[in-house]
Subunit: 324 residues, 2 copies
C-alpha cells in the first residue's frame, strides 16, 4: 500500500497556493497564483478546483491517493457548515457562502475548510516548532492578532468555530484606543499593526514629538516596518509603541496561559520579524506575571515554518482527529 | 447486565462528602463528615477509603459494580500524576502528595483525581444546566474566581492540568489592586470575594464614605453577604464594588468567549447568590462587548445543581473521555 498524500490550499487575499505533500510534510509539488482575488465566489471555487486538478495531473496523482484536501482561508469560517461568513481580505463579499460544499462538488477527495490561523497552528503542531506538543497555541502577531489552539492534539474550535479570537479579548478596559470591532482596549488594537496608526496619533495628541516625520493626518503609514525603523532611529513615539506592543502581547499570552495552560506558545506573523529584542520583551513581560507560580514553565518560541505554515497546515487539516 | 454505578468524593476544607449515583445522576446514597480537615495526608486518604467502603456496604454494593471513583478536591492538582500540589483549604500542607495513588492502594475501582472546579463543570455538563452543551464553561464566582472548561464534550485540562485559571488573567493592567498571586489587576482580585476588602479599603482611601460602619482596619469583614446588605442599604462604596464586580466578571466571560467560543457559560459560587440584578449586570456587560458581532449568541446562565455539582461532578469524572 502506498502512502496517502496531503493536499492543501492556502487561500489568501494576495496569493492562492496549492501544495501536495508527503505525510511527513515534505513537499511534492506546489502551485501559486495571484490573479484570483477579484473573482466572484463561484469562480473562485472553480479556480481552486482547476489548480488542484492541474497540480495532481502534473504529478500523475489520482484524488483517490489523497487523505483529503484542506483549505485554509483568511476569514471568518463556520467550520461545521463549511461556510465563509466574511473575509476582509477579498473585495467580493462572501456572506455565508458554502465554499466547502461547492468545492466538494468539483472534487472527489473529502474537503475540509478552516480559517488560516487554525491551519497555521496545526501546521506548526505537526511539522513545525510545535511538533509533539499536544497542548499549544500559535499566535499570529500581524495586522490583527489571533490564535489557533491545539488542545490534547486537536484543533480547539469551540461551538461555532470562533475559538482563538484572542485579539478581541479586553486587556485594558480604560483604554481610549478603539478596535475595528467597536470595543475599546482589545488586545489586537493595543498590540497589532491595525492599532499602530491610532496609537501613533494618540501619542502626538498627548504632546509627544516624533522624529520620523509622519504627521497625524498620515498616521496610517505607520506599520511594522516604519515602527522598526523608528525604533532604530530612537524615535520616542516608536519606542513607546514598540514597548507597549510587547507588553500587551505578553499580557495576552499570560491570559491564554492561565485559561488553557498550553505547553508552548508559538509566535508568528509580520510583527514578529521586528528585531531590537521584541521577542525578549514579550517573554520578559510574561515571566514577570508568572513569577514562581508554576512548576512547569511554558515556552514562548518563534514559528518554525515561517510563511509556509499556512499551506502545510491546510494540507494537514484532514488529519485533525476532531474531523472524524 | 446491571448498570454500573458512579461513586464521587467531594473533598473540601469544610466538608467531605461521598455519594453513590446511578449513571443518570440520580442519588443512591450519600455520606458527609466535617471532622476531616485536620488529618495528616495519609490519615485523610484512609478516612476517604473508609467512607467509600461504608457507603458501599450500606447499599450492599461491590466495588466491581462501579465505573470508578472520582475525587474532586479544592486545590491545585496535577491531574496526570494524581498529585495534590497545594491546597489553601486545609491546615496540613500537601506539597505534591500522591493522593490518587495512595487512595487507589486502598480501593479496587479505578480512582480519578481532579480539582473541584473541573468536577463541578463536568457535573453541570452531564447532569445540570449544561446538559448536551459540548462546548461550555462553568465559572465559580466565590472567594476566588475560576473556570472548568468543557471542550468538545471533554474536560480541557491543558499541559499540566491548570487550564481554567481565569481568575489570574490580567484584565486591568493599571489597577492598584494586588491579587494574592502577587500580580495587579487579576480578574479574581477585581471581582471575587478575596478582593472585596482591598477594594473597600481603596474606596475609603479615595475619600468615599461608607454608611455600613466598617473601618479600613476591619475591611476584612467585607464579604458577599456584607456587600449585598450594603447594596440594599444604598451604601455608595458597596454599590460601586457590586457594580465593578459585575463589570469585571462580564469582561472575564467575554475574554473566555473570544478565546474558546463556548455555547454556554454557567455561573455558580457564593457571590452568584447576590440579588439586585447581579446576573443581569454581568449579562449586560457581556452583551455590550458582543454588539452584533456573531450569529450564534452565547448564553450565560445560573448553575443547575447548586452545591451538589461538586459531588455529582466528582462521581462523573471517570466518565470523561479524556481519561481513556
Amino acid at each position: 500500500m502506498t502512502e496517502k498524500l496531503l493536499c492543501g490550499v492556502d487561500l489568501g487575499g494576495t496569493k492562492l497556493s496549492v501544495g501536495l505533500f508527503h505525510p511527513d510534510g515534505k513537499s511534492v509539488a506546489e502551485l501559486k497564483v495571484t490573479d484570483h482575488s477579484h473573482l466572484e465566489n463561484d469562480e473562485l471555487v472553480s479556480k481552486v478546483a482547476i489548480l488542484v486538478h492541474e497540480l495532481l495531473e502534473s504529478q500523475k496523482i489520482h484524488q483517490e491517493s489523497l487523505t483529503g484536501i484542506g483549505v485554509g482561508m483568511a476569514g471568518h469560517i463556520n467550520f461545521d457548515k463549511g461556510l465563509i461568513i466574511t473575509s476582509s481580505n477579498f473585495p467580493k463579499p462572501f456572506d455565508n457562502y458554502p465554499f466547502r460544499d461547492r468545492l466538494q462538488d468539483k472534487l472527489k477527495a473529502p474537503v475540509t475548510l478552516d480559517n488560516d490561523t487554525n491551519a497555521q497552528a496545526f501546521g506548526e503542531f505537526l511539522f513545525g516548532a510545535g511538533m509533539g506538543k499536544k497542548d499549544m497555541a500559535f499566535i499570529t502577531v500581524s495586522t490583527g492578532v489571533g490564535a489557533g489552539i491545539i488542545s490534547d492534539g486537536r484543533i480547539l474550535r469551540g461551538y461555532t468555530g470562533f475559538a482563538g479570537e484572542i485579539g478581541h479579548t479586553i486587556v485594558d478596559p480604560v483604554s481610549e484606543i478603539r478596535c475595528t470591532c467597536g470595543n475599546y482596549g482589545c488586545l489586537m488594537a493595543l498590540s497589532g499593526g491595525l492599532g499602530l496608526p491610532l496609537r501613533y496619533r494618540q501619542c502626538l495628541k498627548q504632546g509627544m514629538v516624533s522624529s520620523i516625520g509622519i504627521s497625524a493626518d498620515n498616521a496610517n503609514k505607520v506599520d511594522g516596518i516604519v515602527l522598526e525603523q523608528g525604533v532604530e532611529a530612537g524615535d520616542e513615539i516608536c519606542v513607546r509603541l514598540f514597548e507597549e506592543s510587547a507588553v500587551f502581547i505578553g499580557i495576552g499570552i499570560y491570559n491564554l496561559y492561565q485559561s488553557i495552560n498550553p505547553q508552548t506558545v508559538i509566535l508568528g506573523g509580520g510583527l514578529m520579524n521586528m528585531g531590537f529584542g521584541f521577542m525578549d520583551r514579550i517573554r520578559n513581560k510574561f515571566d514577570s506575571f508568572l513569577q514562581n507560580m508554576v512548576q512547569d514553565k511554558m515556552e514562548i518560541i518563534h514559528a518554525g515554518l515561517g510563511n509556509r505554515s499556512g499551506l502545510l497546515g491546510a494540507a494537514a487539516l484532514p488529519l485533525d482527529e476532531r474531523n472524524h
